[in-house]
Amino acid sequence: MNLEAIKSDLEASIPGCQLEIIPNPSPSAQHSLLVDAPHAFAVASLLRSYAALPFDYCSNVTGIDWPLKETSTKVKVKKLVDGVEKDVDEVVKTISGGYLEAVYHLYSMEQREGPLVLRMRTEDRAARVHLPSLTPIWRAAEFQEREIFDLYGILFDGHPDLRRLLMWDDFVDHPMRRDYVDPDDYEYEPTAHDEVLARARQHLSTEGGQ
């Protein structure tokens, strides 16, 4: 399977789509193809009926949370200090992440090829978390996209039945996010363990000690 060839084929057939190959440095060498959300549905439909290599089997669909991360690295820079050139340490900050990602592992049953790893990214982690649903193309994604919506909070546009899958309907947060914090008012009865009782007491005091 030649990912470069697939990429250039897709770019030729779908005008305006932005594709990027994300290299995978691990020995598995499963490189992935990043698709921009507006063209993702067209790209996926084409891959499903791709003449040379139809990716008819969507095996795994999952979400990943990449919170905003600031990494600072020290770089030596030459600067003029009092008219003399000196090496000065300067901190360079790079910002990465800040989006949610949906990953699809596609296989070709006919050609016995794969996996083709297809990725989509949301614009941010708060308000603009919409991605096109690929369930109309592969029904295998039906429950798995529901699970991503449930645990990560990505909204899949075009999904026939986007409800929570594992958590109950009244639940508000998305527990697989990296910054998720357990609520202190557990639904279940506090068991007689010191830690749980202490948290329950603390919770009551914040509510005015009812």
Binding site: N24, Q30, C58, N60, M109, W138, R139, A140, E142, L151
Partner: protein
């Protein structure tokens, strides 16, 4: 007198065809229903006896396995995988080990690969034996067939206990090999069990394969077409019953599966009967693999000496590893950020994804058919809910 001209005891050929006058009855089957194999619920709308809507409800056994794993070391995740599909812990271990090995490029010694095949195929035998027994139970053959199947499963669980110390939570594999080598006499015992197994299969088939009630209840019930099976990501015996020729032991040839001579049974209708027969036939193929693996088992180390399983830190990257577990395609998707615990740990649960078409299979059929259709999918709720 014409009293006897009309037979009073003739069976109505389609007794449940009376509609309920358009009034729908909503029934919540589960979570404690005995046929749901655990805590699983279906919200069913019925028109008379007929199913017009069926929505599965999940999450009763949800413990967020994937979140727990993100705070665990790579080695510490291994025992948790036992609890996914608790009937076949060894194949869960194998799939996770394979994913880590793909992620870090670890080579597994020859003897460990053979041990994996032997224990993995024994797991498949006992899972399928369990399944056909439970399916009979769901159909109303109370007790006897299930106990016959459990008798055989017990012998295999005894083997697991003497090898790993546990009957069900085996925690047997490690990335880079297996945890312990075979104890003395184990192989002879295992050979005895596999040699006796065809007798059980013959017995089971003689009793039940051409049974009239079994055929009436299962043939043409819960049909999944080949196209739907592929599109909905159905895998394992359920996909092969629909005629999808996709067995990862043949496709990926992971481990050493290219060395064994075995065939992949395929169904052509895709109904409950086919799914039942596929399991019986797959057990015979598993026995073939077991005989070859036990014959060729080489001597040697069982762990890769270059792999430090404690404080294991793979380089940054990601990998998806999958195996043919008895339930279907069990995959693990791991992302490493170079630290000691996985950044992302995803289980691809075959039980959950095989349930995607549950509603399609049940629509228009009777309530009693739901039970056997669900039984023929082969789910374990530890894996569905994770």
């Amino acid at each position: 007198m014409s009293l006897l001209t009309e037979s009073t005891f003739a069976l109505n050929s389609n007794p449940s065809n009376d509609r309920g006058d358009g009034q729908l009855l909503e029934v919540s089957m589960g979570p404690q229903h005995p046929s749901t194999h655990g805590v699983f619920r279906m919200d069913v709308s019925l028109d008379g006896e007929h199913v017009v809507k069926l929505k599965p409800v999940f999450g009763y056994l949800h413990r967020n396995h994937e979140k727990i794993a993100e705070n665990e070391s790579y080695l510490g995740c291994m025992p948790y995988t036992d609890r996914l599909d608790y009937i076949c812990s060894i194949t869960n271990n194998w799939s996770y080990a394979l994913a880590v090995e793909t992620l870090a490029g670890i080579k597994v010694p020859e003897r460990a690969e053979y041990l994996r095949v032997i224990t993995g195929e024994l797991t498949r035998l006992q899972n399928h034996a369990c399944l056909v027994g439970f399916l009979m139970q769901d159909m109303g053959a109370s007790g006897t067939p299930l106990m016959y199947a459990f008798r055989e499963r017990e012998k295999i669980l005894d083997l697991f206990e003497s090898l790993t110390g546990a009957r069900m939570m085996c925690n047997y594999m490690r990335f880079g090999g297996c945890r312990v080598d075979l104890p003395a006499g184990w192989l002879q015992q295992a050979q005895k069990v596999t040699d006796a197994f065809p007798k059980f299969l013959d017995e089971f088939e003689n009793m039940l394969v051409s049974n009239e009630i079994l055929m009436a209840r299962t043939q043409g019930v819960g049909v999944v077409s080949k196209e739907l099976a592929i599109n909905a990501g159905i895998s394992g015996p359920m996909a092969r019953a629909s005629g999808v020729n996709y067995d990862l032991r043949k496709v990926d040839k992971y481990g050493i599966y290219d060395r064994f001579d075995f065939r992949v049974p395929l169904g052509d209708v895709g109904d409950v009967y086919d799914r039942y027969m596929i399991r019986l036939l797959e057990m015979r193929e598993s026995l073939k693999i077991l005989r070859q693996a036990m014959r060729d088992l080489p001597e040697g180390p069982i762990m890769d000496p270059g792999t430090k399983i404690r404080n294991f830190r793979p380089k940054a990257g990601e990998a998806y590893g999958r195996i043919e577990s008895p339930k279907g395609e069990l995959g693990f998707y791991l992302i490493s950020d170079g630290s000691g615990n996985p950044y992302r740990f995803r289980v691809r649960p075959p039980s959950l994804i095989n349930l995607t078409v549950l509603e399609d299979m049940c629509l228009g059929l009777n309530v009693a058919d739901i039970v056997i259709i669900l039984g023929s999918v082969d789910i374990v709720l530890g894996e569905v809910d994770r």
